[in-house]
Amino acid sequence: MHDGTTHCRYAEDVNPAFPAEIMAKPGGEALRDCIQCGTCSGACPLSVHMDLTPRRVIALTRAGLERDVLESATPWMCASCYECQVRCPRGIKVTDIMYALKRRAIEKGMYPKRFPIPVLARAFYNIVATHGRNSESRLVVELALRTNPLSLLKMAPIGLKLMKTGRMVFRQERIMVPKELKTILDAMEES
């Protein structure tokens, strides 16, 4: 991953189609209106932990530096609190753009490897696609098994408390005909 400060970019690093493609996604329309004021980065509760601040993500996206943006952890660390989006003086839907970048990173297989957040998204997606409902307890166990099985030991004290208070449910809730979701999603792909 480029560290964002010491790496020089050249014309060959630019994908000229990238900004327009992001702008064509719902929420991406106002990308070019950014004045780089940094309100988004200042508002973001996570920007201090990010490799690229939200303001830089917008700048790099607009410049077509696709790889820098998609390999960054930033879109994945966005917790979707929408504070940047609500505060942006230019009406840029920053949070929605982060979602568009996540989806593109998945499509292109360019998301940061061994990073737990896309793994969680995938595990969650699969549970719901299969059963129609999510089971928090199963999700936590599945995420741990795929990323860091030892973390299950560390989580045991919280797990015990959840069990004692009746808030840990291992039964998999499901909708009546889980296949109905597949019917809906398949029909959407055909249209």
């Binding site: 917790a79 979707s80 969650f124 999510n134 840990m168 249209s191």
Partner: protein, 288 residues
């Protein structure tokens, strides 16, 4: 009796069970009906939107389609569910190509997307439908001695919430005052807890939540009221780790606003699920 189509979401039968119990108790005490949407599915939360926008909107749209024949407003207590359902409505209205695909999908399952279903958060209903005066009239045990930090988190007020300010919300403050509590000034009230980051990047989640609790303590709160199951869990379950990491005692009971309201109405602690909270309610003054 006003009745609402209830969309509990997955969390309210697990981590958020006391939210479900206290919400039902409070609504029933106020004579409001909650009729669960039959066969609802998961809202998709942030994960579906990260993988496929089409599918995320379709999941939410199926729930709205199921609520359609109920001819009632939808109540979504979980912040993520509330956000996803309202976001889906915005996207269906603003992006015709996406909407056409969703219509097509629902049609294959014999469902119709409703153009006019209103999605509400219980906080909105309690403040704007029931009203603060009516709430006050029901209070038999005012929350004297409770110094409440009103914590809204993010997705209930932003960006699609219509009933309060997205950055400096007030409704929970007013509701807790109506219940007889002292509400402390809490500038981080709409600051994000990090949501599922606690599960994926624990160090970061622990730090974010420590800051929220530290501020509440500094403002001399003795209880924090929340409107979201994930905020409640993050703030409550990781207090041990926060104490250990920052060597600072930030212990604070983290309760649902509906639990506090139920207590003020004279309901028993168990009927609002208080025995399910980790941080004992002992520090809560005047608990029967």
């Amino acid at each position: 009796m006003t009745r609402y189509a209830y969309y509990p979401g997955c969390s309210l039968s697990g981590l958020g069970k006391p939210y479900d119990e206290s919400l039902r108790a409070v609504f029933s005490h106020l004579g409001l009906g909650l009729e669960e949407i039959g066969d609802w599915n998961c809202c998709g939360a942030t994960s579906y939107m990260s993988l496929s926008e089409d599918k995320a909107v379709a999941l939410a749209a199926r729930n709205l389609a199921l609520a359609r024949p109920m001819n009632a407003e939808v109540v979504a207590p979980c912040a993520a569910c509330y956000l996803v359902l309202t976001k889906a409505q915005h996207m269906m209205a603003e992006y015709p190509a996406l909407a056409a695909r969703v219509h097509q999908g629902l049609k294959a399952a014999g469902l119709t997307y409703p153009e006019h279903v209103t999605v509400r958060h219980p906080l909105d209903i309690l403040v704007n439908d029931v009203g603060l005066d009516a709430v006050k009239a029901k209070v038999t045990r005012p929350l004297k001695g409770y110094r409440v930090a009103p914590y809204y988190g993010c997705q209930v007020v932003r960006p699609y919430g219509t009933f309060d300010d997205p950055l400096r919300p007030q409704t929970l403050d007013r509701l807790m005052e109506a219940a007889g509590a002292h509400v402390v000034d809490y500038p981080l009230k709409a600051h994000c807890c990090g949501g599922s980051l606690m599960g994926t990047m624990e160090e970061i989640g622990v730090r974010l939540n420590f800051l929220l609790l530290k501020e509440a303590k500094t403002r001399s709160a003795n209880v924090l009221a929340t409107v979201c199951p994930l905020c409640q869990y993050n703030l409550e379950a990781y207090q041990g780790k926060m104490r250990h990491t920052f060597n600072d005692d930030i212990s604070l009971p983290i309760v649902y606003f509906t639990q506090l309201l139920g207590l003020a109405f004279g309901l028993s602690p168990t009927s609002v699920g208080l025995q399910r909270n980790f941080v004992t309610a002992e520090p809560l003054p005047a608990m029967a």
